[in-house]
Point group: C3
Chain length 352, copies 3
């Protein structure tokens, strides 16, 4: 079954204005470059003018100021990308799984699974778990004791939710994610033979995840050591991200793949952490901060803005020289200081 | 049962030339350093001369130009390392699991599992899956709906293949890998209360993996947002790698552990990405490019070669000074400019 | 059931001295900042004086030299953090699961599972596995053939232990970890059509893990190519760490999240690798070395100490200038050299 919409159907549902409509119906979304003739695409940036003029898309979503750039049927809106996202949601409605518990799933009798939930093959739900309405749990996932999952939250296949974690409504947790694992906390002590040993600090906090949070594949979020780890509403986290114990991530912050956030870091609202960025522990980052990809942040950030810590890339033989000179930068700075003194001396001599 | 080969058996199968054979038979492979007297080893680089002269190996594989470096029984070939790989394959044949479906596995009746396949404990194969001949699926793996796996492809234990993914022949996917997960795509929009929210863009592309691709443990490869994510033939990917939506990886490229590749990056053929390297999104990297480990690549690369972006490591107190001077590098450059102007002035004065 | 201890109970078990006891009983641990009135906290560093003076904790653990900083009931000890760890272990005893094999678990008849073990839902134990006493294996975990697990070792949910791995006593392996996966080893060879292909080198070594090792969620440790990968006693490894084939990690070393260690690296004892650090292959790092977070180490380290390789972060527009100047650093160094020569020339002229 394929959904099909006219442009007027779309503006009825989503707002915006239709121009140059040629009674087209669209059934798919497409990129300008690869769209087929049944697709609707979007245009956001004049650097893609070339793709716009050659696209095979049936219709395009664009901003008022770009209305003259194409004679195609179009929808005009101030935010074409968000509009496109919603059109795609209409054309690609989330597949709703049939409610029910697969016979291979194991649900502890002390746990509550509403009949509106979908529990897939080989799922394990341990004791005292509370699921909201229409929760979906994918094959092979494990939900440990005392977990709470809010309404309409989805766990994909092979997710692990450790005991006591609390997850809000409309969250989406992807395969391989591990939520509520023990944090990495050890105290060093001298043992009888005067060697050093690591003593584990029991991790007795929880993970608390608010509504509308997405968590990517193979991402790990650790439970608090004493207090809780908290992910606020609307946070979106990509794959292979590590969030250590006691972190607090502010609402609507986005965290791209391979980011690591060390223990007790506090990240504000509406921040954006680029892929591979690393945040040291016990830092405080205010709202509306962007961290560039691959950047290690070692100090708290008190002012919103964009922060970067990257070596520029170079062809390897040029880099070898750069690296040698970076190692000598302190000496170079000293040499410049001496030169300035010598020049100053010469200037003074001239004056005398 | 242990396989045993004379050196003549090996050259019959693999080519090369036997020299100084003493009727040895080899049953194991070994490193020069640790080989026991039943092992065959290889020698590739004169910096390991010490290990060669003291090795206990029964025989050694080496290049024609190194023939005089040892009096041991030996096989001469131009590529000792690749030859050694094949000898090791002969001595350590891949264990073939008995065909059959373990009674604990769940296979949806709409899916096709040839009798030559091995389906292990607790595997879940959902609807409309098509498996080729001699596919092996390890314990606890989940293969979601509409997936296609080519002949002789192996999934190790606890792998997750998301719906619609297509994987070619002779691929090898290791434990914890997640293939075909939703990409990380959201559009920002202002909500009624003038706050910003993230709207999910449905990820409707697929992952297409060609033949002879290996994918490491806990690696994640996301499905395309609109178009597909494509991994070409012979690509080898290590553990904990993130490949985002719409990437295209060229044939025979190798990607070491902990690499992150952001969305829509296009990597050429025969590239080598060192461990921990990061590639920004929407970049284009041509064939035969090597990226050094730990290097963040922020621009497209149009010419083959090796590229590096790394701070050199220093003892911490020296690094502290270097870092302070790096922060002041713009000022230092300005100071040098002023010095040059002052000197120029002095030179001009002398001329007048 | 809640455990409750007087301060005298605690010093009876753990040593130390009680001062200003007001007959308090403690039932929980807490941070100074968030402790409730039934909790015991610790104080280690005068930069947290403010939290100490305002804490609601019933009692505090601190050093002899800090005894006058609070009038609260207190325990005096030289290492408050390690003492606190042990108090927390008393107040939060590890939950011991009831021995037994869940009916959904699959145990191959050739494997040995003592009656003191706890084997959870959907666990799969393949052939010839040997478990020690009181081993616990969490739901959905897979233990492949010929694995040995020592007494009291715990696998959390959804762990994968590949064949032939040997794990000592009292280890703790967290969800999603993959131990004993094939290492990433390929030899390049020219094929008939003169293209290059990668030939897999069978990975025939094992992973050997000694006692008291912790391994974090979604961490991967590869089996050796020929010889073994070895993790010594007391090593603690955080989440999302990659340890490649043939690495040897010395006793009591700690490895924070997102670290990558390439093949055949040898790390000493009592080292500390900060989060996101990367260690190149075939390096040798001596005992008692600290690597700063996010630092890439490209050379062996022969002397204990702290080593760092990081770009300092800057506001993005300042960084853009810094980056441009880093690229020009070789030229800047040459300019300084020329200036020095010119100045030298001027000085010489003055002398003549």
């Amino acid at each position: 079954m394929i959904n099909s919409f006219s442009l007027y159907d779309l503006v009825d549902k989503l707002g915006g204005e239709v121009i140059d409509d040629n009674k087209v119906a669209v059934t798919h979304v497409g990129s300008l470059q690869y769209a087929e003739s049944n697709a609707i695409s979007f245009f956001n940036d004049t650097k893609y003018n070339g793709y716009l003029s050659s696209t095979k898309a049936a219709a395009v979503i664009l901003k008022p100021e770009h209305v003259l750039l194409t004679s195609k049927p179009k929808i005009i809106t101030n935010n074409p990308y968000a509009y496109f996202a919603k059109v795609s949601q209409l054309l690609n409605p989330k597949k709703v799984n049939t409610p029910g518990i697969h016979p291979s799933a194991i649900v502890h009798p002390s746990s509550n699974v509403p009949v509106s939930c979908h529990i897939a093959e080989n799922v394990c739900i341990q004791n005292n778990v509370i699921l909201g309405e229409q929760v979906e749990i994918g094959a092979g996932s494990v939900v440990e004791s005392n977990v709470i999952l809010g309404d309409k939250t989805i766990l994909e296949s092979n997710v692990t939710i450790k005991s006591e974690s609390i997850i809000g409504e409309n969250c989406h947790i992807f395969s391989g994610a591990v939520i509520g694992n023990d944090g990495f906390g050890y105290a060093e002590e001298s043992s009888a033979d005067n060697g050093k040993r690591w003593v584990k600090i029991p991790q007795v906090g929880r993970v608390i995840i608010h509504a509308h949070v997405d968590i990517g594949a193979n991402t790990t979020i650790d439970r608090g050591a004493i207090d809780d780890t908290v992910i606020a509403e609307g946070v979106k986290i990509d794959n292979l991200v590590q969030i250590a114990h006691n972190c607090r991530i502010g609402a609507h912050t986005v965290i791209a793949g391979c980011v690591g956030i060390a223990g007790s870091a506090i990240i504000g609202e509406h921040c954006r952490l680029g892929g591979g960025a690393m945040i040291l522990g016990h830092l405080n980052i205010v709202d509306h901060v962007t961290i560039s990809p691959g950047s290690m942040i070692m100090r708290s950030i008190q002012q919103s803005g964009t922060y970067t810590a990257l070596m520029p890339s170079q062809e390897h033989s040029a880099w070898l020289k750069t690296a040698a000179n970076v190692r000598q930068l302190t000496q170079l700075t000293d040499r410049v200081k001496k030169i300035e003194a010598a020049l100053n001396n010469i200037e003074n001599l001239k004056k005398t």
